[in-house]
Symmetry: C2
Subunit: 568 residues, 2 copies
């Protein structure tokens, strides 16, 4: 009879426990969870704070009792493992609140400790108005503070998934919100021009978005400096602010509540103390079977590093889907099967007010840092047939290897159909399809759901055109660095230039007049062509190149240029 | 200079014309369209009739003038090609309304004539209250009749895509609708148990659904028999009915308007007369480059037969996406490139009131007819995290090869997220992924969009369990044919049995009590286990099999059993 002990009863740990029982009726299965809850819906916490999820109980998916009844798993909450003795296969377990300890043996151990919020060494964070959000008690504390203190203004530090979800949750409760982000953009998985769509949405919704600002100090009460602050930033805060925030920009900000959502780091203290090998990325090192450097100890979820899909380089990619899959696989392997985890693409999505932002694979920042050869294209098609009500543009960025068409990554932002497009692309990428094969994908089409040429088909056609040489693209960075040997041609209609805007210095010949007006263009210059989203520019470029001109098309057109050059 | 002539200016023809011009500025490109419109949104027609699409102009995507300006394509509407002389490469073109003819030469000819509505040889169809819907003038005629005649009752014959869309359009205009379908189910691409969800929805919406009934005769005015009809069916019709319908069941039905939506057949008259080879399925035979039996003539779209994805057998699969892709490819090949069309999966979707129904690949009916080895599984997970508002079940059926896990087809019905799931599955299928690899797919997850284990992951896990032998499934047909050596065990809670319903003869032991009550079960019988959707049944079956019992799980649970046994 195998004795399996699992440390951590959420996501990966819970999946492993249930799977282990389904595989073996005789195994002894113990889950040790230091918190109060197992298998809770951690991704739902911000939505209960914001009020979308009404019932707190809806977040508590399983209890120790339900686990016992259904799976005969011995779940012990408030049980914290404080030490692992890999040689003796013994755990030291501390029970809360008593603080008593006991020893527990194991045949196979699974570490599923998750990740912990990063708490930066900022003076003054230890105060009753500052919170992080990792679990149900954290959520309860935030809701209690909202109910009792009724803050008029809150500040969220960090524009990642949890930060953005908390911004929206607090805004939904009628609280004025400031979002501080140290980087030049929110939502690090996407590139800056895609994030700019989110920045625009946040500002439109009334969020006080402050990029390129770190939090450097917190003081309780209204500081004298804050009163004297000449930047006017205090007006953004509440008059009844309990905290004064010092920002790296020199600004001072008063706020009633502070939410730290700077990120998470793998919980590796136990593993490290037990002598398990950690990876360079800071996560627990595991092989493809999710086994650590100790043959009797497995690890899964946010605490481990796994190979990134494109490069195979190990990295920490904290996501619920992979954690669940790894947990299930680890159970298989602990019980004698031989299942291998494949690489992690990092497919993710976040709702940001009326928008969704999603991505998979590598972003351009990372591709550049890795020094990989790449090309990118942008399209902005409607989420379904544009003549049917409710269609919204999907702004889609595709990154690929310009030699062989391998998909490197993709990003999408829009009000509708963003999840579907990144899902389709993620499957294509995982299956090893090239961008040339995206055109062939047969996707559901009826006017309420898609288009005969779906977003993904269209992106594939554009990318295939690039690889075939039918289209040579340029980008905003090329437009901004225009040389004397280049000319910028805008092929939109004059009305669009005045109503939507234009790039200074462009000459304007509408695409439908271009064939007759080719003689107006110089033959000794490279012509960079722009339209609104890149479609007419492609037609114009084909016309120009067939007529012997040198021409490149601004991928994604003026809309992408606006995204790339907006400043927040 | 190549002279390309295209017969038919919608979908494939329009795509080919635009692509040809982008590839060659010097080619002469002529589109001959016998109708009034080119490149119109034929999929949008029912939605304009129903009022969802307000502006008729929104359906007219291109005009001859816009094609000329943008692409320098000579589009000639009201130009009907009446004969092709392949030896001389000459067309005989009749101009309407004059009826004059002229001859047009070509270097390359593309046939894109589409498909025509099937009009069965039923006496009495030639009357002013009977319509089909293929193009804009058809739509205009229907709307004019609705506006002028104000029918209280309409009858739609045929429960396919256009039939169902017309049922909804007419219903939205406040008209009572009868739907006649000769088969036992609507929406032939899916199997009967999936179609039953649609039948339920139609009846709930107040549609008079009559399956297994054909239309045998139509007479104008109220017939004496109709008055004497003892079946009561006349009450479904209008008192002011202009038409009396005779049904194959012997029923008589009065109606004010008759819409024929029985299906379409390839328009092959011209091709046949020109001596081009037709396929066994009735479509024009083409090779992978979309070339017909004549080396100078290509054909695309609803008029051709293409190889079905799984079997490679040629068939006619009239869908907009393939038509557009084929048109673009044919242009490439006519201009000297060498592009091959891949097989057609037949991915399709239809909105049916609050539901969507979608499918890809082969259905079970077809797999059985082909005699292929297969297994099927059903899952009914929520469209996104069930604790987040707006989640609805997606009823998903997956068909696969039980030996190697090859995906044969899939079907889904639900209120939310149906398009996404069939798209993901269609890509996986096209890429050659097995059902075992579906679990690994990394799909977007946040509570508003999906689940950490998406519908597709879950379907893949269940199918993989079947292939690995971790789960042995049974189906409704097994339950209905229960033998003396078998026992039916329902592991739901007693409250569910009374509130939802149960299968007669099942014994009930809730899954959470099963481990303690195994001794109540016979060891000499095979136990067929059911729960609500198949999840608890799986846990119970694992428990039983680990304890030495023979057990199979009803895939999709009682919910699937209800779908399979409902009668409409």
């Amino acid at each position: 009879m195998t004795k399996i002990v699992i440390i951590g009863g959420v996501a990966g740990g819970a999946s492993a426990a249930a799977r282990a029982r389904r595989l073996s009726e005789t195994a002894e299965i113990i889950v040790l969870e230091r918190g109060e809850h197992v298998s809770f819906a951690n991704c739902g916490l911000p939505y209960h704070i914001g009020g979308d999820i009404k019932q707190r109980e809806a977040l508590l998916l399983q209890t120790p009792l339900s686990f016992k009844r259904r799976f005969n798993v011995d779940v012990r909450t408030f049980h914290e493992v404080v030490a692992i003795d890999p040689q003796a296969r013994l755990l030291t377990v501390k029970m809360w609140p008593s603080g008593e300890t006991y020893q527990e043996s194991y045949d196979k151990l699974l570490l599923s400790p998750g990740a912990a919020p990063v708490v930066p060494p900022i003076p003054g964070l230890d105060n009753p108005a500052t919170f992080a959000l990792r679990n149900v008690p954290d959520m309860d504390r935030i809701i209690a503070a909202l109910d009792s203190r009724k803050p008029a203004h809150a500040t969220v530090v960090g524009g990642g998934f949890i930060g953005l979800e908390m911004v929206e949750a607090l805004h939904q409760r009628g609280i004025k919100v400031t979002l501080l982000e140290l980087a030049a953009q929110v939502m690090a998985p996407v590139d800056p021009e895609m994030a700019n769509i989110l920045h625009h949405e946040l500002v439109q919704q009334g969020i006080d978005l402050r990029l390129n600002r770190g939090l450097t100090a917190v003081t309780q009460g209204v500081s004298p400096e804050a009163d004297r602050d000449a930047t006017g930033s205090c007006e953004q805060g509440s008059d009844n602010g309990d905290l004064t925030l010092q920002l790296s920009s020199g600004e001072t900000l008063m706020t009633d509540m502070l939410i730290l959502a700077i990120g998470v780091k793998p919980e590796v203290r136990l593993a490290n103390a037990a002598g398990l090998v950690l990876g360079a990325s800071g996560g627990i090192k595991v092989d493809a079977s999710m086994r650590t450097s100790d043959p009797h100890i497995y690890a899964v979820g946010d605490a481990v590093e796994t190979p990134e899909f494109v490069t195979g380089k190990p990295g920490v990619i904290p996501l619920a889907g992979p954690a669940n899959r790894q947990g299930r696989m680890a159970a298989d392997n602990m019980l004698g099967r031989d299942i291998s985890y494949t690489r992690t693409q990092g497919t993710a999505i976040c709702k940001v007010f009326d928008l969704a932002v999603a991505s998979t694979g590598l972003n351009e920042k990372r591709i550049k840092a890795l020094g990989l050869a790449y090309e990118k294209i942008y399209v902005h098609p409607a989420s379904h047939a544009s003549y049917y009500p409710g269609a919204h543009p999907v702004s889609f960025k595709l990154l690929f290897d310009p030699q062989n068409g391998r998909i490197l990554g993709a990003q999408a932002v829009g009000k509708d159909g963003v999840d579907k497009r990144i899902d389709v692309l993620a499957v294509a990428m995982r299956a090893g399809l090239t961008v040339m094969q995206l055109e062939e994908l047969e996707l559901t089409y009826a006017p309420p759901f898609g288009s005969a040429r779906d977003v993904i088909n269209q992106a594939g056609m554009v990318a295939a055109n690039v690889i075939n040489g039918d289209e040579v693209v340029c980008h905003s960075e090329d437009i901004l660095a225009l040389t004397a040997d280049q000319l910028l041609l805008d092929v939109r209609n004059p009305g669009e230039l005045t109503s939507i805007g234009q790039i200074p210095g462009a000459i304007n010949i509408p695409v439908d007049e271009l064939r007759q007006r080719l003689s107006e263009l110089p033959t000794d210059k490279e012509i960079l062509v722009t339209c609104q989203v890149g479609l007419r520019g492609h037609v114009a470029c084909r016309m120009l190149r067939n007529a012997g001109f040198k021409a490149r098309n601004l991928s994604g057109g003026f809309k992408t240029f606006q995204m790339a050059t907006a400043r927040f």
